[in-house]
C-alpha cells in the first residue's frame, strides 16, 4: 500500500485515505460556448496515458478532504511529488 504525502496536511498517509481523481491540469474552460465540438471533445474525453511521469489529481477523502496534484511514475508507481491545487505544473 502506497504512502501519499498530502500537501495540505503535510503528512505521509496510507493510500486508503485517498481517492484518485483523474489527470491533473485540465482546467474547465471559462467560456465553454466558444469551444468547437472537437475542442470540447478533447477537453471532455481525451486523456494522457504516459509510460513514466503522470500528472494526476488525488483527494485526501478520509483526511482533510482537499484535492491536490501529484506526479507519479506509472512504471514504478512511485510518487515524485505532490503539490497544492493551483500551484504550477511540476
Amino acid at each position: 500500500m502506497i504512502l501519499i504525502h498530502c500537501p495540505y496536511c503535510d503528512e505521509q498517509r496510507p493510500e486508503i485515505e485517498f481517492a484518485y481523481a483523474g489527470q491533473a491540469h485540465i482546467a474547465r474552460p471559462v467560456d465553454p460556448d466558444t469551444y468547437s465540438d472537437e475542442e470540447w471533445e478533447r477537453f471532455l474525453f481525451i486523456r494522457a496515458n504516459p509510460r513514466g511521469r503522470h500528472h494526476e489529481r488525488w483527494r485526501h477523502s478520509h483526511g482533510c478532504g482537499r484535492f491536490f496534484n501529484a506526479v507519479r511514475d506509472t512504471v514504478t508507481d512511485k510518487f515524485e511529488t505532490t503539490y497544492k491545487a493551483g500551484e504550477p505544473r511540476k
Partner: protein, 953 residues
C-alpha cells in the same frame, strides 16, 4: 524408506509423547515434532500421490518448500484445512491429518493408472485434448479433470474460527530468524530502534536449529533479544507479501499447534510498515533431475540433516548421496557422526576438494566421483539406486533405503522480487541473487547468495546413457512436470520462459516453484542454446506460501463485512414487521406486511392509504448537504441546470445535476433558508458522490467562490407525511408555522417546532399528494414518528416503505436517477427540458447538451407505457421492439426502466427508454418476455392527476 528415531539428539522433548492420527491410523511422536518428522520416525515413507500421474510420493524437503507431502488437517466441523505441508504441521495430542489426491487409499490408488498412460499426458495435454466438442466441457471434461487432477478437497462448511488483525510500525523489520537475521537483530537491538523479527517456524534459529554446535549461541541470542524492550519477535509468522513503501503482510499462526479449539483467534494478520526491511530468508536446496528422482526416499540432503539434528530422526538405515555441491558432503559427514548409516557418496564432478575426500575416507564412506545416479528401484520406498560413470555406460547398483540430493542452493528472493528489487544472474551459483533494491531494503545472508556451504557445479539433467524420451526425471514435483515436458515445449516453439512456464505448468503449483524454477530454467536454457539470463525469470507474486482466506478476511465477515447504515426510526420498523432492503448501504423498510400479506397486497394497501388519507415514510436516508456562504446561490447556479439566484428564502426548487458530459447524475429538492444558506437534498445513493463532485468544482475550478459545503445527511431524521389528511394531522402539533395553503404553498420550507422539536419543515411531495417532509435532529426521529403514529390513528395513518414510494412516484412520472436513467440520459431524453435554465450562460454539462450526438435524432427518450392487457406487469429491464415478427436477433429500440401494478389506477403502468419515444405518443410497441410477447402503447409518463390538482390544496 525405513526411517527411525535416533537414540538421542534433536530439539524434541522426549519426555512428552504426543498421540496423533494420519489416514485414520494412530501414531506417536514427541513434542517438537512436525507431522513429517513424527511419521518418518514411525517408518512412514509414503505421504501423498502426485498431482497428475498419481505417483507415490514421499518427503522432498523439511521446510515450507515441500512440494509432495500435502495433507489435510481436520479440527472438527468447518475446521478443515487442505494442502498443508506435513513439514510445517506441528503435531499435538489429537491431531487428525490425512493424505490427499488418492482413492480409495494412499497405497492403492486407482488414479495411478495415469502414470502408465503417461505417454498420453504430455505438456499442454489439457489444452490440446479437452477442447471439442464444446458441449463436453461442462458435463464431462471439467468434472473429470477436477476429480483426477486435484489437490485437497475444498472445505464446504462455514469456518467457525476467529481471525485477528493488526497494524504494526517499526524502524527495522527483519524477515527470517536464521543466523544472518539474528546477527542483524542483535546488532540493531542495541541502537534502540523499534525492531520486529519474524520467522515462519515455531522457533527462531533457521539453519542453526539443525546445527547443534550453534545451539548455545542461539540460546544466548534469543535471551538477549527477548529481554530487549524494543524488539518484537514473531514466530510461526509468515511474511507472505512485500508491497509498496515497505509494507509487509504477515500471518501469525496462533492456535493450530494447540490441542483444543478455542475461542482465541486462530491466526492474526499483521500489516507492518517498516522504515527499513532486512530480508534474511535463507536459501533452498535444489533437487537434481534424473530418472526416478521422485521415488519416496529421494530427498534433499539438507532435509535429511534437519530431520536428524533437529528432530532426532534418521530418514533411513542406509543413505546414499548424489551430489554436485560440497554441502551434501558436509551433511553426510554430520549424519554419519550422528550414527546414521551411509551407503555411498556419488558426485557428478570429477574433482572435489581434497579435504572432502579425506574426511570421507576417515569416516569410511565409499565415494564415486564423475558418476551420476541414472535410476532408482523401489515403488513406495527406495530399495537401491543405479549409478553410471559419466559419459561411459558402466552401470552398477548400490542398495540403500534413501537417496539424498545435493544440487546446490537457490537464494530465496521471493519477497525481494515482490518489492520489485532487480536480480542478477550468478553463473557460479547457477542462481539469481538480489541486485538493486526498489525499496529501503537489504538482502543479507544466504538469500543474497552469501553462504559458507562450499562450492558446486550446475547441472540441468544429470548425465545418463538412457533414452531421454523414456525416463521420468521430475523438475516440478507438485505439478508433475518432467524435463521431457520442458524439452517438448521448446520443440513446439515456445521461447519465452513465461510461455514455457504456462504451457508446462512448471512452477505454477501452490509452492510457486520453490524447488523447480531454477532447474526448469537450466533445462530450457540448454534446449534453447541460450544463456539463462537471456531467457529471463518468471515473476514471484504474493503469497510466499498459501495463506487462509480467514486470515486475510479477518473481522470483515458476516455483519461486519460491510457497514449497514440504519436510521433513527429503523428500530420501530423492525419491531413492526418491516421487510427491509439495502439501498446504498442503508437498511430501508421496503414494506410493512399485515396479517400475512404478501408484498403486493401490502403495497396495494399502503398506496391506497396514502392516496385516500395519510401515509408515513422514513426518508431519513436522503442525502443532505448544507450549502452556506455569500456565493452559495452563484455556486448552485453553476452546478445545477436550474436557475437558483432568484429563488426566494423559504422556497424550494427541484434541482437537476449533470456531469460535464451532459448526462443526468443526480436530482433532488433543495430549499433556500436564507440568502446565504441552502438545504440541499440528493438521492440516497448519490450523497457522497454529489458532495465529492461539488467539492471538486469548488476547490479546483472556482476557488474564488466563498461557499462551504457540509454533509448533513446523518444530522436529520426525515419523516415524509403524505396524503390528503397530512395537513390536518400536522396542524395541532406544529408551533410557529402557518400551515395554510396560502401561507405555506407547495415547494416551500418553514422553520419552527413540531411536538416541541426544532424542525425544518418542507412542503414537498414525491407522491403527488399533499405532503410534508419533516426534518428534525436525528435523535428525535423515532420519538416524533411514534407521536405521529399515535396522533394519526384517527386518520388510519399507514407506514409505507420504499416499494410503495416507488409505485406512487411512478404514477406521477417522477424519475429515479439510476433506475430510469443510466448515465446516458440527458435532461431532454428524460423529458425534463423545463428544469434546464435556458437563459443561464453556463452550468456544469451545458456545453455538452449541444454536442452532435446529444442533439441527434433517434436518442432513447423516457416515455410511459400502457400494456394492452391492463393486468400485465412488464419486467423491468425487458427489451422493446417495433415489430414482433422480425427474425431473431431482433432490433431493440429500448427497454423498460420501471414497471408496477397501480392499485389506484386498477392497471399496470411502466416507464421506458425508447428511441425517438417522445414523437411516438400513442404508437404501439412490443415487449418480448419469457412468457410471450406483450403489446403496449406509448403514453405520457404522468399516469395520475396530470394537472397536479391534488398537490395544490
Amino acid at each position: 524408506m525405513s526411517g527411525y528415531r535416533l537414540p538421542a539428539g534433536g530439539r524434541i522433548d522426549r519426555s512428552k509423547p504426543v498421540a496423533f492420527q494420519f489416514d485414520g491410523k494412530r501414531y506417536q511422536g514427541f513434542a517438537g515434532d512436525t507431522l513429517a518428522s513424527a511419521l518418518l520416525a514411525n517408518g512412514v515413507s509414503l505421504f501423498g500421490r502426485s498431482f497428475k500421474y498419481h505417483r507415490p510420493r514421499g518427503l522432498l524437503a523439511a521446510g515450507s518448500e515441500e512440494p509432495n507431502a500435502l495433507v489435510s488437517v481436520h479440527r472438527g466441523p468447518g475446521r478443515f484445512t487442505p494442502n498443508l505441508r506435513a513439514t510445517n504441521v506441528e503435531i499435538h495430542d489429537g491431531l487428525n491429518a490425512s493424505s490427499q489426491n488418492r482413492w480409495p487409499s494412499l497405497k492403492t490408488d486407482f488414479g495411478a493408472i495415469n502414470d502408465r498412460l503417461g505417454m498420453f499426458f504430455p505438456a499442454g495435454f489439457y489444452n490440446k485434448t479437452f477442447m471439442w466438442p464444446r458441449s463436453f466441457w461442462d458435463r464431462l471434461y471439467e468434472p473429470a479433470i477436477r476429480k483426477m487432477a486435484g489437490l485437497g478437497d475444498a472445505p464446504t462448511e462455514v469456518d467457525p474460527d476467529n481471525y485477528a488483525a493488526t497494524y504494526a510500525h517499526c524502524d527495522l523489520l527483519i524477515v527470517g530468524a536464521g543466523p544472518a537475521g539474528l546477527d542483524a537483530a542483535l546488532e540493531a537491538s542495541g541502537t534502540g530502534k523499534r525492531l520486529i523479527l519474524i520467522d515462519e517456524q515455531d522457533e527462531a534459529g533457521g539453519g542453526a536449529l539443525a546445527d547443534p554446535a550453534l545451539w548455545p549461541w542461539l540460546e544466548r541470542s534469543m535471551k538477549a533479544l527477548s529481554s530487549a524492550a524494543n524488539v518484537t519477535i514473531l514466530t510461526r509468522t509468515t511474511a507472505f507479501g512485500y508491497y509498496h513503501d515497505n509494507f509487509v503482510g504477515a500471518v501469525q499462526r496462533l492456535t493450530d499447534h494447540l490441542p483444543a479449539n478455542s475461542e482465541a483467534p486462530r491466526e492474526k494478520l499483521w500489516r507492518i510498515r517498516a522504515g527499513e526491511v532486512l530480508l534474511a530468508q535463507g536459501a533452498i536446496e535444489r533437487p537434481l533431475v534424473f530418472d526416478g528422482n521422485d521415488t519416496p526416499g529421494v530427498m534433499l540432503s539438507s532435509a535429511a540433516k534437519i530431520f536428524a539434528n533437529r528432530y532426532g530422526v534418521a530418514v533411513g538405515k542406509s543413505l546414499a548421496l548424489m551430489a554436485v555441491h560440497d554441502s551434501g558432503w558436509h551433511d553426510v559427514f554430520a549424519l554419519k557422526k550422528a550414527g546414521v548409516g551411509i551407503a555411498a557418496i556419488i558426485d557428478a564432478r570429477d574433482v572435489v576438494d581434497e579435504s572432502l575426500l579425506a574426511e570421507a575416507a576417515a569416516l569410511g564412506v565409499a565415494v564415486h566421483l564423475n558418476h551420476s545416479v541414472i535410476g532408482v528401484k523401489g515403488r513406495h520406498q527406495v530399495a537401491s539406486i543405479e549409478i553410471c560413470a559419466n559419459g561411459n555406460d558402466v552401470r552398477r547398483s548400490i542398495p540403500c533405503d534413501a537417496l539424498l540430493m545435493a544440487g546446490g542452493w537457490t537464494p530465496s528472493v521471493h519477497l525481494w522480487s515482490h518489492s520489485k528489487g532487480s536480480l542478477k544472474w550468478r553463473d557460479d551459483l547457477g542462481a539469481y541473487v538480489p541486485d538493486q533494491p526498489n525499496e529501503n531494503c537489504r538482502s543479507i545472508g544466504a538469500c543474497s547468495g552469501d553462504w559458507d556451504f562450499g562450492t558446486g557445479a550446475v547441472y540441468d539433467v544429470l548425465p545418463t546413457p538412457k533414452d531421454q524420451a523414456r525416463i521420468k526425471a521430475f523438475v516440478d514435483f507438485q505439478n508433475d512436470v518432467t524435463a521431457k515436458d520442458i524439452n517438448l515445449a521448446v520443440r513446439e516453439g515456445f521461447r519465452s520462459i513465461e510461455h514455457i512456464k504456462r504451457y508446462t505448468t512448471n512452477g505454477m503449483a501452490t509452492d510457486q516453484g520453490k524447488t523447480s524454477n531454477l532447474n526448469g530454467l537450466q533445462i530450457a536454457s540448454t534446449a534453447l542454446a541460450k544463456a539463462v539470463p537471456d531467457i529471463g525469470l518468471t515473476t514471484f507474486r504474493p503469497p510466499y506460501t498459501p495463506q487462509t482466506f480467514g486470515a486475510l478476511a479477518g473481522h470483515a465477515k458476516g455483519a461486519l463485512f460491510q457497514a449497514t447504515r440504519t436510521t433513527n426510526i429503523d428500530g420501530w420498523a423492525e419491531e413492526n414487521g418491516a421487510i427491509f432492503e439495502l439501498v446504498a448501504q442503508w437498511r430501508r423498510a421496503r414494506y410493512f406486511p399485515k396479517f400475512g400479506e404478501d408484498m403486493h397486497a401490502a403495497v396495494n394497501r399502503e398506496c391506497v392509504a396514502v392516496r385516500n388519507s395519510v401515509g408515513i415514510f422514513d426518508a431519513s436516508t436522503l442525502g443532505k448537504i448544507e450549502v452556506v456562504g455569500p456565493d452559495a446561490a452563484e455556486f448552485l447556479n453553476r452546478m445545477y441546470t436550474n436557475p437558483w439566484k432568484a429563488l426566494e428564502p423559504g422556497r424550494c426548487r427541484y434541482g437537476l445535476l449533470l456531469k460535464e458530459d451532459g448526462f443526468i447524475t443526480d436530482d433532488g429538492v433543495s430549499a433556500r433558508l436564507a440568502p446565504d444558506r441552502f438545504h440541499l437534498t440528493t438521492t440516497t445513493g448519490g450523497a457522497a458522490r454529489v458532495l465529492n463532485m461539488m467539492e471538486d468544482y469548488l476547490q479546483t475550478e472556482w476557488p474564488d467562490l466563498n461557499v462551504w459545503l457540509t454533509s448533513t445527511t446523518e444530522q436529520y431524521a426525515v419523516i415524509a407525511l403524505q396524503g390528503p389528511n397530512a395537513r390536518k394531522l400536522l396542524e395541532p402539533l406544529v408551533e410557529g408555522i402557518d400551515l395554510s395553503a396560502e401561507a405555506f404553498p407547495h415547494m416551500a420550507i418553514r422553520e419552527g417546532l413540531i411536538c416541541g422539536i426544532p424542525t425544518r419543515l418542507f412542503r414537498v411531495s414525491f407522491t403527488g399528494e399533499l405532503g410534508f417532509e419533516i426534518n428534525v435532529p436525528t435523535a428525535y426521529g423515532r420519538a416524533l414518528w411514534e407521536r405521529l403514529m399515535a396522533e394519526g390513528a384517527d386518520y388510519g395513518i399507514t407506514p409505507y416503505g420504499t416499494e410503495t414510494m416507488h409505485v406512487l412516484r411512478a404514477e406521477k412520472g417522477f424519475i429515479i436517477v439510476g433506475q430510469d436513467t443510466d448515465g446516458t440520459v440527458t435532461p431532454y431524453d428524460a423529458g425534463l427540458d423545463w428544469a434546464v435554465g435556458k437563459k443561464k450562460p453556463d452550468f456544469v454539462g451545458r456545453r455538452s447538451l449541444a454536442r452532435p450526438d446529444i442533439i441527434a435524432v433517434g436518442r432513447r427518450q423516457l416515455v410511459g407505457l400502457l400494456t394492452e392487457d391492463p393486468k400485465m406487469v412488464l419486467e423491468e429491464g425487458a427489451q422493446i421492439v417495433a415489430d414482433p415478427n422480425q427474425p431473431v436477433p431482433m432490433t431493440m429500440i429500448g427497454h423498460v426502466t420501471s414497471s408496477y401494478w397501480s392499485e389506484t389506477l386498477g392497471r399496470s403502468i411502466a416507464m421506458a427508454l425508447v428511441a425517438n419515444g417522445h414523437a411516438m405518443l400513442g404508437e404501439t410497441i412490443y415487449v418480448p418476455m419469457p412468457d410471450g410477447t406483450h403489446k403496449a402503447a406509448i403514453s405520457s409518463m404522468v399516469f395520475y392527476d396530470p394537472q397536479g390538482a391534488r398537490l395544490h390544496v
